[in-house]
Symmetry: D2
Subunit: 352 residues, 4 copies
């Protein structure tokens, strides 16, 4: 029963097979190979964005930080949710890549920025003088860190606020596939049509080994990307192995199939857990993660029986009174089985 | 009636005269002159800190940012009040100097960090892994941006929390003189005896032209200061002109006399305003600034009559209904006169 | 006939197969998986360095820049050959990662630093005051950018000079395997026994897809590595896929077999070319690259016949007089065939 | 006999007096005062550049580094003389301010860049790909670190090369006054008319306490200057004290009178020394510094008699054979007297 993270999942066999195919013979390095040309074309079609600039890197942190560095100067303010990965889980990568921009953490329930909180922050930003950091960008995450999604209207409500001040919008799409699969909308409806300027499209959590695409819907913003990527050591010499992953992942809609499978498992898990007396869901399980709270005693039993997941209160431990409720983060992936879901529900219900 | 800022004040005549004296003949450059040796000795005596490292720069932002860069690595978290100058008024200087550390803004009434807010932040920091910025330093401000002061006990309550996690403490003392004068304690009681490791001692707002001292009570922490200062262009070649200011400013307790004068004016102003019906003080006027709220109509009248000060609600303007209360920040300096105070009170009371 | 770069080569089939094996089931992320534990153990044995710290990243530029950032402060001077990859081919990565250290380029024939040039630079460094960057590290490359090698004595002659001033030594080992295979010495003899503190051991050019190890022989120097890597987005979540590459690459000495094969092809190519009248070798072909000069006319013919390689004079083109000699860089890899070598020799000799 | 540096000189009395005058009453802070408006107007007239952007800081290192940061991105190459102050004497300030740009050191006799060396470097830069730092700016120094000057034609020969590649030109004018006084040309002829885009105009070495102007002849290039200056802590709150220095320094051509006086002393010193058998001048004494070589024994005698200057060979000491020639750097300032010059000549001639 693995519910630790999307990162402990294997890659999809189709993606691994593509590496083997890509390995036949020589190929031009640094992205000049034919696979990359096909990936660029495919993503432009998929996003209905014929002019988009497409670049690949191997990690989500690199994708996010490089994207933000193309949007915010060192003296810029980047507005984001306080729990956003860029703010809380990247050891300061955006600050490193931007040479010191300031992330302004905003509140909002269920991992989604409260429009009023953004309004308040932008109002302060509007009054910025040379003494203050300058409003530079809005960074959103979809699906969010709380396993919820923004629908196109919710996205647009936030991006419109940013755009009214001339601020570009970054979308951390480490789990973009899960958001699209959850909402059933098109990729464009969840990105540029909703006001997103730069999307980091995550493959790693959704079946790749290590591959992320960065899409600049306005290619002018990508002007410095190449220098920043190279200078950061993120330009792969054997770049075809990044491109091959993304190509296989997009092929035939695999990316959405994998995400839909993960979402379905999470939905089943959320339903099963919510039906257990004493279990409460902390957030709607819109995508592939479930946040649920139940008594410590049953956590202890579940973990003893082999369930792997994180206690999400930052200082929670298995030591303490049995009946104290503790929050679990349970992440499903494409390879999570219905059996694993059933077993976990059984353990938490005390029926196992 | 100038209440805009300590920065619009002239320098004390004693300080200007010292420049003229320091200008006679040649002197060794870059701080190797005899005046600097005397300043170092004087500050060590004044702070009862014979081993302290003393360095001078010309601006408070430089002093703060250089000090923090000696305490926090690029992946460090610096805990500070959300309204702290380092967080809100230095255009990201700490981020620039630390190469990207993260300032973690904390809440607290009247410009003072709420110990519970610090506890909560440190608890999160205690759980930091390689994915998170690492707890690195606590930065306090005394007198605060709200014109209040921390007494030694209040300081110690916060610094003890930091020190229990091994974090060094920086004190932004742009208005340290006002705090000492307000509390009547010794400089050491408000600094190292209360758990402060590095103090930026501000002369500029208190009668200098442009001079700030940085005191490292543990000189080991100053190891890189010289390189950082030079590299930032803050090492003065004709360094004697910084030292001469500080020497004259300390001489005979001038620094405290000037601060006490400013504090007395602010106290009188606060008393006078508070006695006016419809005026409320937003914060205790412990030091040299008064934050008071009164109806827009009287602001309009006061400004028309020549009163100079800031409306402090970031988006407030003189346009609008007469009776809406607006917050004023009124800063007194060593040269503020009793007359100016009386005039302003009269204007606000509508008696002028 | 591919002689463009080691980077256009495919990965070794053994390495690709290892990815497939590593993909079975879940695994702990971020390097906590069992494959990484085995890689660490294997490298410690191979280098006779039981206490070495071992870390993996995906690119050589990242490996070099992260290693240097662990050795040099922002105000540090890093001594290196002017043609070193870190100085000339990484778009300023070391400057980015170190937050602005200065690379001091040194001369020397055939890609090897002239000890006298190092002496002269260190003598200047010895006199550094606060006005100057401070001597911080020596960075060497083996095999060099000119396709030559330092033997252990030549390495030690340079590292001893650095160590006498207390400077740590970085070795860019993007082609370390080629150097070891060329010299027939042990990995330890070409690294820590010769005075190297940190080695970046390159897998990518020698049969991996994208994998590099960083070995800190003194683990204390690695203290900040984890933060720097994460912050740079170089910590792979599915880290097992980096580890699996290195494991397979080391298994049974594959890494040296591949390098020896590449070296043998280069040696044959160098011999064949040198025997052609009008062809001169610019450098000894110690490793897997040949630098040779011959008339433009024959370059034109060779390229027309499908030979792929770089003209190495930075501004050379195929346009111009037939008889002007132009420098070619010809890189062999593990997959270069004897046939390709023979064909190229034939083309250049005009016999094709 | 002070010949150590322009930095050990006192400020001109006119400049100190201006501080006293500027200190009367309140003034708007951060450069919004009337003195600064007058300085801007005066410099625009003096340089025949009505659209120039004028900004002040307190140190030459800050002026240079801020200027370069406005011209070069982090991945930029800045071409300069190897002995330029920005390259050799600022502890890496340009690297800090640009977030890691690379200074490319060029050769040239007497502190002046050899046009052929610039051509060679630019040719390499012309071939830059994403793997290389990108040509970004040319930085010149006039008067040079060797006490020589570029005349307008020599300047233009270099700037034209840069401009042909679209590179902007920075001029470090720490001793610009000495260059103008030496050549008898106008400020515009030595700056924008000769192809300079940004000039750092030094007051500190020529009679100010601490004041430097940065002139952007194309104000578009100054767009980020304000943020960079504030963020670096170089925006003075009591900015009028910077402006007052520059105003007094310009008033009635004082800046040129002071420089001419220093130049005249240096010329007399050079003539006197050159006439002594066994003394050789290392460089023409075009400005206010003399570089001369004479036997160690006479250095020992001169210093024993109170002459203050630097031995300029970086590792030279007074210990050693009497007859070995050692290089002296002898800097004259506005306050250097004819007597001091005569005394030193007498000491070196052995006649004292």
């Amino acid at each position: 029963m693995w519910f630790m993270s999307d990162n402990t999942q294997p890659a999809a066999p189709e993606v691994v097979a593509a590496l083997e195919r890509a390995n036949r013979g020589h190929a031009a390095s640094y992205g000049a190979d034919p696979i990359m040309a096909r990936v660029t074309a495919a993503l432009r079609v998929l996003f209905e964005a014929p002019g988009a600039e497409v670049q690949l890197v191997a990690t989500g942190t690199a994708a996010n930080a490089l994207a933000l560095a193309c949007l915010a100067p060192p003296w810029g303010a980047v507005y984001c949710h306080g729990e956003a990965h860029v703010n809380s889980d990247e050891c300061g990568a955006p600050e490193f890549y931007t040479a010191g921009a300031k992330l302004v953490p905003l509140d909002g329930d269920h991992g989604r920025i409260d429009p009023a909180a953004l309004d308040a922050a932008l109002a302060i930003g509007r009054g910025a003088s040379v003494h203050n950091v300058q409003p530079a960008a809005l960074s959103l995450t979809n699906a969010t860190e709380a396993g919820t999604v923004y629908d196109p209207e919710a996205l647009a409500a936030l991006t419109a606020r940013a755009r009214s001040m001339g601020l570009p919008v970054h979308l951390d799409g480490a789990r973009f596939a899960n958001a699209v699969a959850s909402l059933g909308c098109t990729p464009s409806e969840l990105s540029w049509k909703a006001g997103v300027d730069v999307l980091t499209l995550g493959g790693t959590k959704d079946g790749c080994l290590a591959a992320e695409a960065v899409l600049f819907f306005d290619p002018v913003r990508a002007r410095d990307f190449g220098f920043r990527r190279k200078r950061a050591g993120h330009l792969f010499s054997k770049h075809r192995f990044l491109a091959a992953q993304i190509e296989a992942w997009l092929e035939g809609g695999l990316w959405l199939d994998l995400a839909a499978r993960a979402n379905a498992r999470a939905a089943a898990l959320a339903r099963g857990l919510a039906a257990i007396p004493g279990v409460t869901l902390a957030h709607p399980a819109d995508a592939n993660a479930v946040f649920a709270r139940w008594p410590r005693g049953l956590h202890r039993a579940a973990m003893a029986a082999g369930a792997e997941y994180y206690l999400w209160d930052f200082d929670a431990t298995l030591d303490g009174p049995d009946d104290e409720p503790l929050l679990a983060r349970l992440v499903c992936g494409w390879s999570t089985t219905e059996d694993e879901v059933r077993q976990l529900i059984a353990l938490v219900s005390g029926a196992a």
